[in-house]
């Protein structure tokens, strides 16, 4: 599903963010990507969604070689990969439901389809009672669930979650992880970027550990080691 071959990323010749990384994530896996701050985790996410250019090596997403992806193809890549971030990235002047609908609108989906899909994904994340509220009227966990709902509107095969619990307390964090597991159980490949030791250790799933831009360990049932 996701395959990296000797991938490197230099922001400039002196800043090596990713240093010769190779790994393969199979369809339906739930993988945690861990490592200290500044070791290149977010950079890796950006390479996967085509936001940064790959300096060296090759990346395949669902069999598609995105190494030299063109600007006009990026929208299609983005619709196949759902992404969520620590800071939710919701529009404050839209309700939770409208935030989800927005993702469909700006890709030119017909109204009838939008009205059908948006409430469905809202329901998957368990926000059907709060979908008419604005982001500032709900908790951090609910904002993140809205972001997850939005990332699901195109039924992506991959969900990338870059520190999704970074702004949440442990109860909300657990709910988000449970939701990611639920989405994974439907068959979506999930990559969870985190540096939360407890979460990683309780998950008992595959763990990739990055250190200073290098892949230093890849364990099938991993522990947080750094």
């Amino acid at each position: 599903m996701i395959k990296l071959k000797n991938v490197s990323k230099f922001y400039d010749p002196n800043v090596v963010a990713i240093d010769d990384i190779s790994f393969h994530i199979k369809p339906g896996e739930f993988v945690s990507l861990v490592g200290q701050s500044g070791t290149g985790k977010t950079t890796l996410v950006k390479l996967l969604i085509g936001e940064e250019r790959i300096s060296r090596g090759e990346i395949f997403v669902g069999g598609w070689n995105i190494t030299k992806i063109g600007q006009s193809d990026i929208p299609y890549l983005r619709r196949q990969i759902g992404v969520i971030f620590q800071d939710f990235k919701l529009l404050p002047k839209k309700t939770l439901l409208e935030n989800v609908e927005f993702a469909l609108q700006v890709c030119g989906k017909p109204m009838a389809k939008i009205k059908k899909i948006a409430p469905q994904v809202i329901k998957i994340v368990g926000l059907e009672n709060k979908m008419h509220r604005y982001p500032h009227e709900v908790s951090g966990g609910e904002k993140q669930r809205t972001a997850i709902a939005r990332s699901l509107v195109y039924q992506p095969k991959i969900l990338l979650a870059d520190e999704p619990t970074g702004n949440l307390d442990s109860i909300n964090a657990k709910e988000i992880i449970d939701l990611l597991l639920k989405i994974n159980s439907f068959g979506t490949t999930v990559v969870l970027v985190t540096h939360n030791r407890d979460i990683v250790n309780k998950l008992r799933r595959r763990v990739l550990t990055l250190h200073e831009g290098r892949l230093v360990s890849d364990q099938a049932v991993g522990k947080y080691i750094i």
Binding site: P75, V83, K89, L90, V106, G108
Partner: protein, 306 residues
């Protein structure tokens, strides 16, 4: 096709939201567009009016060749025939001394002093003349040169400089006004470009979160850049409508003055603009939209990669 219309409808909706959200910036953009379009239209009006003015002056112009009172009739007729054969001459009319006097009397019938003065003279003070109508007023200068070359003892005076002066004066004024208008229009156009560019830049800045999210969820470029292009058309349309309204109001105020100036001539500035409505205003709208869209496109391409 249905998909395209759906997208277009949504893009138009987004761009109206943009226009309203940055309402002050939109108003400034529209103001500067109005100034630009007005200056272009004023330039057109000046050209139309001066064109008509030159036409009427040329129409009015007859060239008078004054002859000696002693000139014999057959020599005058010979000269008349010679001038008639010139290629630029449409018609030559002989005005005898008596005829000139009666025309003069007619013209000054309300001026008793002059009539009195005429009576005191025992001789007809006027000279006979040949009144020459040029065939084509554009070749006026050629004709004058030819007439100046004529050698005949019966010619008393030829003074054509008045006509020449008047025409060149009108031409000079027209040229100066047109040139100024052109420069002013150009200046306004450049300001428009800068203002539009800046409006789009600020628009992108205020929408940077939205644009970032759009990119993130895989919005196609037409949804990201499209609204800015459509805003350009909206600005042009609003400004054009305001300008058309204001300009015809102005023309209505202007027309009475022109009527006194062009008495006897069929010149109406309002109908000039109504008969040429689409070539003038349609083209201006098109040009303004294209300029707006280009400026928007450049700004959007430069700043929308967030």
């Amino acid at each position: 096709m249905a998909h395209f219309l759906l997208s277009l409808g949504r893009v138009i909706k987004f761009s109206f939201q943009d226009v309203l959200r940055n309402i002050w910036l939109s108003l400034i953009t529209i103001m500067i567009l109005i100034l630009t379009l007005s200056s272009v239209n004023l330039l057109l009006a000046v050209r139309a009016i001066s064109g008509a003015a030159i036409g009427t002056v040329k129409e009015k112009v007859d060239i008078n060749l004054y002859l000696r009172t002693t000139a014999e009739h057959d020599k005058i007729m010979a000269l008349k025939a010679q001038i008639s054969s010139l290629s630029d001459v449409k018609e030559v009319r002989y005005v005898s001394q008596d005829e000139a006097l009666s025309v003069f009397r007619q013209e000054h019938v309300n001026d008793p002093q002059i009539i009195e003065a005429l009576k005191e003279l025992d001789k007809n003070p006027l000279t006979p003349s040949l009144v020459i109508k040029p065939k084509n007023s554009d070749n006026f200068n050629d004709l004058i040169n030819e007439l100046n070359k004529l050698e005949s003892p019966i010619i008393e005076s030829r003074n054509f400089e008045d006509h020449r002066l008047m025409l060149s004066k009108i031409n000079a004024i027209t040229k100066r006004v047109s040139d100024t208008g052109f420069v002013v229009s150009l200046v306004f156009m450049s300001i428009t470009l800068l203002v539009i560019y800046n409006t789009v830049r600020v628009g992108i800045y205020t929408h940077r979160n939205e644009i970032a999210i759009m990119r993130l969820v895989g919005a196609s470029n037409r949804f990201i850049k499209g609204p800015f292009l459509v805003s350009g058309v909206i600005y042009s349309l609003i400004s054009m409508l305001v300008v058309i309204f204001g300009f015809f109001l102005f023309l209505n105020l202007l027309q009475p003055y022109l009527e006194t100036f062009f008495t006897g001539y069929n010149f109406n500035i309002i109908s000039y603009f109504t008969t040429n409505f689409w070539p003038i205003f349609g083209l201006e709208f098109l040009a303004a939209s294209v300029v707006n869209m280009l400026a928007s496109l450049v700004a959007a391409s430069k700043y929308s990669h967030v």
